[in-house]
Symmetry: C2
Subunit: 310 residues, 2 copies
């Protein structure tokens, strides 16, 4: 392999930035500051179509957000649904966002949660990870494991070919995650079965950091499962949502870090992007930066607490 | 509700067309006829970019396919991965395809297999089903159930608001579907647990056809599971892939039909789109039409056989 594997690039980023923070770029237009929304208003935007205007607003917002959070985050995680909902223009804004983040020195985890049969999964892998196909290829994606190994295989190939990373949804952060993911089959919870698959997918893909490029999404909102899964997935990066707007705190994720502060990256979206109470506040972007810095600091402390206990 | 529910619109389409055939619009450019590929070649296309050219090729191919298959199919099912892989231009081709199919009197099932937390799922529902958001809204979508009820709720809302349909992935057609979907928990296979969720999501959404707008994807490649799930999901439309290139035949899906020939629609993609052995055959589009007609006839026969046995 000529490309450095994602697992090691992520370890470098966490180490160099001193930050395990991933900022989720989930653009809710109605929560954006007035200054951004005004500059792409129907009256002033050269392009009249509603979806194009929304996409322009998103790109403008993300540009300013990325500039402010870049010093404090190791990666961004754009949630593609909030771009897809604006059609082709939204996908254009997604791609612009990927490029802007990369240019700012951030890794990009495309939160796409795809999962499909082999030939279709190959098309998705090309769409999001193949730099020969798109100038806006991401560094990693999230994947839904419900269809099993053959739905993941093309992404494993992308890991080998392009140094890409993947994060399978092992135990998600939403309230009804338990309906299927916590069912017990043969003495193990379903999420533990998926964890076993994640281990098998990753075992030949361990980088010099000791971590593989096949990671797992495990929500911070289920602390018991998080602790158990950390134990079962010792060589896997965990991507942990649920801190901030979804209710978990930095201390809830402390058990996810190894003694060097590696092994886990923590996503927050709405609590970083929309911390200002007044949408007309001209200093909204500073508030975004401050929210990122604060959570980075809280995660550092949580990580140190974990190291002391270990 | 002012809009006729998807379940009834699908029953009408199957009845009026005398066809349970869904044609999967999965554009593989390298398998397309030369005539189509040439007319969007780098040399002749006014738009030079590779992704734009690919998207133009797809739209041109789909236009001719739709014209030929429209008399023989009740619906089309574009697989969005094969459009997403060409970036914004690909999504534009996807939307053009949706509109062309609708104009040809076909229902459109967007094969997107999305599944995400509530606020994200709401964005996906807007993206694919909300006619106020997009002029190219589909009639139905496929959904991945791994995240449970709250990931489906926004789509149930779209069913109520817009008469949309959904098909949850209960038992897929791919070889490794069994890894998770066939695990046994509390005396039931996982796919049966999902079937129970599908029943609960659909019970207040039964139309005058007797079927609900919450259906299930069940692969034809697992005939025993298909038969069992048909029994457990009596009020649900089944969307059945796996016939044709994936190996199952029309007779394999006979048990899925009720005695009126309703209750199941059968998807075939590659076997309909690429039936010609010679890509330079000028009559390629007739071969596509003939393949659709043949499978429609085979499905009619299978459906009659099922009615006789019942």
């Amino acid at each position: 392999m000529t490309v450095r594997p994602f697992s090691d690039r992520l370890a470098d980023a966490v180490h160099d930035k001193g930050s395990a923070l991933v900022v989720g770029l989930d653009p809710f237009i109605e929560r954006m500051p007035e200054a951004v929304r005004k500059s792409t208003d129907a009256g002033t935007s050269p392009r009249g179509d509603e979806r194009q205007r929304a996409a322009d607003t998103i790109a403008l917002f993300n540009e300013q957000v990325i500039e402010k959070i870049a010093p404090f985050a190791c990666a961004v995680k754009p949630q593609i649904a909030f771009y897809e909902e604006w059609g082709p223009a939204g996908i254009e804004a997604f791609e612009r966002t990927v490029v802007m983040a990369r240019d700012a020195g951030l890794l990009v985890i495309a939160d796409v949660k795809r999962g499909d049969i082999g030939s279709t999964a190959a098309a998705y892998a090309r769409a999001f990870l193949d730099p020969h196909r798109s100038a806006a290829a991401s560094d990693a994606v999230t994947l839904n494991p419900w269809l099993g190994t053959d739905s993941v295989a093309p992404f494993l190939q992308a890991a080998d070919d392009f140094g890409a990373g993947l994060f399978a949804l092992v135990r998600t952060s939403n309230p009804s995650a338990c309906e299927l993911q916590d069912l017990e089959a043969g003495g193990l919870k379903l999420h533990q079965h998926v964890a076993a698959l994640v281990r098998s997918w990753g075992e030949d893909r361990v980088g010099s950091s000791g971590y593989s490029s096949v990671g797992a999404v495990v929500g911070a909102t289920a602390p018991r499962e998080l602790q158990q899964l950390r134990h079962e997935l010792q060589g896997a990066w965990l991507l942990i949502p649920g801190v901030g707007a979804q209710g978990a705190t930095a201390m809830d994720v402390a058990p996810a870090f190894d003694k060097h502060g590696l092994g886990a990256v923590i996503n927050a979206s709405r609590s970083i992007l929309y911390p200002y109470s007044d949408p007309s506040d001209p200093k909204w972007a500073d508030a975004v930066g401050a929210a990122a810095q604060q959570l980075r600091d809280d995660l550092r402390e949580a990580s140190r607490a974990a190291a002391t206990q270990a």
